[in-house]
């Protein structure tokens, strides 16, 4: 049985879809079999971020309603060894599926794949409940802003109430310069407040925009800092112990960046 991991946030636009695409691609590059499940019914995006939008025939709702077979709802990403996408329906809304149906779907997928990554919609309603239904592990994405961290806290409470213990935190869009001059909450501040385990930190990086334009996840780009951060996160998901670094030491910016994102060991 594979592992079902839900990527969620509460607040919209903080980077769930970007994270799902990058982590999924990274796991596939590490030789794992992976399926990305877009649970954002009505607002599908994951297909576009992955550059697979032109290959959609069937979607998640078709599979759940048994209009097609499970395999027909999967798009193979030919660039990577064992990576598949099941797109969301675009013309339906979130009530088109139930948590019970999602549970069955993720269970069936987990029989075929080592990792099932579920990209959750924003919010705490039906779409969120669907997305977490079959998950056994969760990643909470936030940016270093008051509203995003607040919503993350709410989501963490809901995850725990739904028996998804030990959610892991991914802090996205950190701007080193702003942290340095004290105008952005740093990693310690956020971890301190949310009090859950940190999975990783991803810098704000133009390469994310460029790679999204191209439909190629940044994790394949060696020069992208965000890509490097995602590679470290993938290793941590696989159980490697990649250390986190402190922002406070007085060292050159480059080594500092290297430390923060895990290039250099302490």
């Amino acid at each position: 049985m594979g592992e079902v991991i839900v990527i969620t946030s509460g607040k919209g636009g903080v980077g769930k879809t970007t994270t799902t695409a990058n982590i999924g691609t990274g796991l596939a590059l590490e030789g794992k079999s992976v399926v990305l499940l877009d649970a954002d019914i009505g607002l599908r995006n994951l297909d576009v971020v992955m550059g697979l939008e032109n290959r959609i025939v069937y979607d998640l709702v078709d599979v759940v309603e048994k209009t097609c077979r499970l395999k027909q709802g999967l798009i193979k990403d030919k660039r990577f060894p064992n990576l598949f996408l099941m797109p969301a329906a675009q013309t339906k809304d979130k009530s088109a599926v139930t948590p019970e149906q999602m549970m069955e779907l993720t269970k069936n997928l987990a029989e075929e794949f080592e990792y099932v990554l579920v990209d959750s919609p924003a919010g705490i309603e039906q779409g969120f409940k669907n997305a977490i239904a079959g998950a056994s592990r969760s990643i909470v994405v936030t940016t270093p802003e008051v509203s995003a961290v607040r919503d993350a806290d709410r989501i963490i409470g809901l995850l725990e109430a739904n028996d998804l213990k030990n959610p892991q935190l991914l802090i996205n869009r950190i701007k080193l310069e702003m942290v340095k001059r004290g105008d952005m909450m740093n990693i310690d501040d956020i971890v301190d407040i949310l009090a859950i385990d940190l999975l990783g930190v991803v810098p704000d990086d133009e390469q994310i925009v460029i790679s999204t334009n191209r439909g190629e996840p940044a994790i394949v780009d060696d020069r992208s800092l965000a890509g490097q951060a995602y590679r470290n996160i993938v290793k941590r998901i696989l159980g490697d112990n990649i250390p986190f670094m402190s922002l406070d030491t007085d060292e050159g910016l480059i080594t500092k960046i290297a430390r923060v994102f895990g290039f250099v060991r302490k």
């Binding site: 008051v146 607040r150 942290v179 001059r181 004290g182 501040d189």
Partner: protein, 93 residues
């Protein structure tokens, strides 16, 4: 009003403001999403106080709010309980 202070000058240290605001917000959020929290406090309060004072349980009102601290005027979270007293118990006279 000190406008410079209000707009946070040209940056620097606004993260401390963010962190303070967030901590305050979360105290309220966390208490409110757990309806049992205030019920538990309410129950325990009644138990303790009833040893000394006869209170009007139906009129007891308890809530989590914000208040200005006298010392420095900072906003801090506060648990406010309004407990109507019927009469003092005999034993403490």
């Amino acid at each position: 009003m000190d406008l410079f202070k209000f707009f946070g000058r040209s940056g620097g240290g606004s993260k401390d403001i963010a962190k303070d605001r967030l901590q305050l917000l979360l105290i309220h959020d966390r208490a409110n999403v757990s309806p049992q929290f205030l019920e538990m406090v309410r129950g325990d309060l009644i138990d303790v106080i009833s040893d000394y004072i006869e209170i009007d349980e139906s009129g007891l009102d308890i809530k989590l709010t914000r208040t200005k601290r006298e010392r420095d005027g900072a906003t801090v979270p506060a648990l406010v309980a309004n407990i109507p007293i019927r009469k003092m118990k005999e034993k403490i006279r």
